[in-house]
Symmetry: C2
Subunit: 362 residues, 2 copies
């Protein structure tokens, strides 16, 4: 079976009777390994077996559903699989594989489809041209008197503005939710979360101010204004949400709690929460983090905070628990969701978006 | 200087004082080479020099402007450069480098920008979901009574529906032309040209029927109807153009000449013209090709045919000359353009679009 992540015309990767099969042409190589992403697909590496004519073959039986990054190690070199599409992750363009499951909410269905739109804007903050990806729901162009709420979605470390639509399938998920009448028609805005720190910097070495303050300024000064000017949006806080995954989850919670005048709804998906001022980041919620933010916001609170993690990513399940406790202490309404059997990976975040979107703007 | 094609956060490739610099981390490698694309950037390969800590460095002094595909050869293995973005070309996801030149018509300027939109449609021809990329001009959403002509742009062999916007910068070129008042506001539709033959098949081995008939059916049965339904188009032949590059140039000319009821304006950019029925493709225009097409179309002719090539790609300059002769003999109005100092590469096609768009729909 052909995969959506396989290059058109390529035979591998594919789903066969043995499982998820990979084939690489590396004549003269001594050793070829499949580097697993450390998610529900597996950790470490899987050896390829040599075949005639310089081909190498590897199989993962019973592969976990959804999108997984991967790489191929050929002798000392780590590289991409030429048979697969590439995705912005790990701070570069890396191979990915998409294991379909018709029961998941992120498969393409025969329902009305929205449009994914890319536009340029000139940032006054970074003093550069930036690309913004905006998903508009089906029928957006038909009724031009209608205005929409907006969900701002932030990607994770090493990813970019294309990740939520490509790896995350945000548009397909929204299409499916809308077809089921499960969510309110919403614009989804996906921009780069890097406004100060470059994506090649390891997250643990990044001061939260570099990650958070730059994006906060970018959203407040450029992005929201661009979106509200270019699209038919409802421009008050009760119709604007900010959510993100991992690094983007930290950004969404921090920015949203400090600027409740901008965002009424927040989502932290596997939020990468660490304490400030430590050289080795401590992956724990700083005791006064939320309290301080609410105080900085003059006591204004978001309408609801959505938190989620995959059951296999312990650190983030803990973060969600700690955050839920802090939010409760600060008197902030919140909901938690755990994705069964998934780790720090896109299936967690796709399912999280499926849980989050129906709760927004109600 | 940072390049638009370099991954955000990566230091290389970059433009330095020595020229276009590449750096690869390949500890333990014996030999590293930069594989040139065989265009105006150069042919063959450039050796990398070893540097401390497993790094390798290569420079191209005075690099040719525009977009160039490239690969890196590490010992026996050909792979991508992790520092660079990847682009659909060569039938897979391959590194590319963008050498800017503010004097070229394809650089981002501070002018109003259109939107690039991606939408799904279900093809009745290929029985699959396909993605269509549609560029809408600035202001498209502002005046909803206005209808627009449509230019259908086809990519080359081994490329896909993303190539004209990413490698080709079609939207940026249209933005610049519109800002200068040089072209008429137009929708630009970019879909995959593969409807029957897979992109991994070498072009010389592909029967023209596989390349042409499938796309003709796809355009006639699915794509035009989808676009005319979803966008505010002017739906007659005098407001619909079909152009393509290389393989797409052959497709555009063949389909357009056979279906002048659908397309009034045609463009063949470096058109890959070969004769049918030969095992080794003869790169020459079949004597009765155009005559036969016009006869099949009941004598109806396109309003104008645009032809172009780069001065460095001899075979295609010859094809343009031969085609111009055949068109003249068939009584079809045509214009030719030669891009100075460029080969079979995107600078030729970007400049060609800049020449073509102002001639359309007049």
């Amino acid at each position: 079976m052909t995969l959506a992540s396989t290059m058109p015309g390529a035979e591998f990767p594919r789903l066969g009777s043995e499982g998820l099969e990979f084939r690489i042409h590396a004549p003269g190589a001594h050793q070829v390994k499949l580097q697993l992403p450390g998610d529900s697909l597996g950790s470490g590496s899987v050896p390829f077996s040599p075949e005639p004519d310089g081909f190498w073959h590897a199989v993962i039986s019973d592969p976990a559903v959804g999108f997984h990054y991967y790489q191929v190690e050929i002798d000392a070199l780590t590289t991409n699989d030429p048979g697969s599409r590439t995705y912005s992750g790990y701070g570069r363009s890396v191979s990915g594989v998409e294991v379909p499951d018709p029961l998941e909410p992120f498969e393409l269905r025969d329902v009305p489809h929205g449009e994914l739109r890319s536009l340029w804007f000139r940032s006054t903050v970074t003093r550069s041209w930036r690309e913004l990806w905006v998903w508009t729901p089906p029928g957006y162009d038909d009724d031009i008197d209608r205005h929409y709420p907006v969900l701002y979605l932030q990607h994770g470390s090493g990813e970019d503005e294309t990740s939520w639509s490509r790896q995350g399938r945000a548009g397909i998920i929204m299409d499916n939710l809308l077809a089921d009448g499960a969510a309110r028609p919403t614009l989804v805005v996906m921009g780069s979360g890097y406004a100060a720190a470059p994506p090649s910097t390891p997250l643990s070495a990044v001061d939260s101010a570099m990650i958070i303050d730059g994006l906060q300024q970018l959203l407040a000064d450029d992005v929201i204004a661009t979106v509200d000017r270019q699209y038919r949006t409802i421009t008050d806080r009760t119709h604007r949400a900010l959510a993100g995954l991992s690094m983007g989850g930290r950004q969404a919670l921090a920015i949203g709690l400090r600027r409740p005048d901008l965002f009424g709804w927040l989502g932290g998906l596997s939020p990468a929460i660490w304490q400030r001022g430590t050289t080795d980041a401590v992956w724990s919620v700083e005791p006064t983090w939320i309290e301080d933010a609410v105080r900085a916001a003059g006591g204004v609170r978001p309408q609801q905070v959505f938190l989620s993690a995959g059951t296999l990513e312990e650190r983030f399940v803990t973060a969600v628990d700690e955050l839920a406790g802090s939010l409760a202490a600060a008197g902030i309404d919140h909901k938690s969701y755990l994705s069964p059997g998934t780790a720090h990976e896109w299936t967690t975040w796709r399912r999280s978006l499926t849980e989050l979107a129906p709760r927004l703007f109600r």
